[in-house]
Point group: C2
Chain length 236, copies 2
């Protein structure tokens, strides 16, 4: 069994529609590559109680919980406090985090009170490197807390993932069929029944020339994937 | 109090990272316009038990639950059955849905057994119009079930939303500040404390010329928004 994961995206701006999230999709792809099975993505608002409840629900179920958003210096950055509350641990400015943050500023006075909020780390957490703007993320047990700005989130993911134990990477084959789903569904159902170890999905699309279907088969072993691909191509 | 909503996106292809969802963002914007407060987006895999559990959790809390995906003709389209199971009602091919579907096919034989799956509607549901490919969505009480293909999802949303009772539309003002968050955070905290009825968010961004901050204030009344915008502009 591969390790499992959930992603918790924290931010009113996603729920208002102002921002189209890209962090979930980025991390989903990276997790697939390293064999960690992503089983849920959840988007919640900047509300302390909601974040705490979601963290505790998701960490009770999954091997890893990755969060995005809410670790900056402003009043609406409340993720670190929510993580501390979820685990029932203390939180305060930590010297190693302060030292990392200080490398960002030539003038020590620029590390003002609000910016110091970014050095507040829950007790027992380890830091996640931020090569872009220094303010660190952190891991507390299975919960990995990262920034919302995509370029920083992606850099944190790149640093964090090699430290996690993955599983068997999921392979996939994809076949495009320029026929509507309804014409291939019966044949595909037979194929799916014949390959119970594979996950076979059918994804319709619409182009100017009509309806088509992408068939994607996923599994950890190459041999059955090659066999199912040959079967799927017969539907073309 | 405005009505509240959750969006449930159903599909392995989003969790594998193969597909970047756009339906959540589209509906989030539409809900903001009509004054329905979106409080959660959740992405789950094509697993019957998981979908049933998520439906029952979300419908216990929100005024509306909107789903996307899993209502096509193939073996992995299991949303309608999951909705029926969540409500504990029956499901079968319904004549009005079959009649709508039949208008898609000149040759009646083309409405084959797999395509007829798209006319399976839980007992008590009303149909949601699909002007693109006919196969209907449906509403069962507060749960609104729509297609995953974006062009069809968006057409269904356009047809459905006018039938729902909205609330006070959320207005917003947005101010771009070409300074890093850490330089405006203290002033912004004072402003946020002075306008407790507004939701004020700070969204950092990175460009080639450095760090900047978008400040977004949201609320239902125009007058305090104009006042807060003037205050925020002083941070520029």
């Amino acid at each position: 069994m591969n390790p499992t994961a959930a992603i918790l995206l924290i931010g009113d701006e996603i729920l208002s529609g102002r921002t189209q999230d890209s962090n979930g999709n980025h991390l989903a792809k990276r997790l697939t590559e390293v064999g960690i099975d992503l089983l849920e993505i959840r988007v919640v608002p900047d509300k302390h109680k909601v974040i705490v409840a979601a963290l505790n629900t998701l960490r009770a179920v999954h091997t890893h919980v990755f969060t995005s958003g809410g670790i900056g210096p402003t009043h609406d950055d409340i993720t670190a406090d929510a993580v501390a509350a979820a685990f029932g641990v203390g939180i305060g400015v930590r010297e190693d985090a302060r030292a990392v943050l200080a490398t960002n500023y030539d003038n020590p006075a620029d590390l003002n009170e609000m910016r110091l909020r970014m050095a507040r780390i829950p007790d027992g957490a380890s830091l996640i490197d931020n090569p872009i703007s220094k303010a660190p993320g952190f891991s507390l047990e299975k919960v990995h807390v990262m920034a919302g700005v995509p370029v920083i989130f992606e850099a944190m993911v790149a640093g964090l993932l090699p430290s996690l134990t993955g599983g068997a990477p999921m392979r996939s084959v994809s076949v495009r069929i320029d026929r509507p789903e309804g014409e291939v569904a019966a044949g595909l159902a037979v194929i799916a029944a014949n390959f119970p170890a594979l996950s076979i999905g059918s994804y319709p699309f619409v182009t100017e020339s009509g309806f088509g279907t992408n068939i994607v088969a996923r599994g950890v072993e190459a041999t059955p994937l090659a066999a199912v691909e040959a079967e799927i191509r017969k539907l073309q």
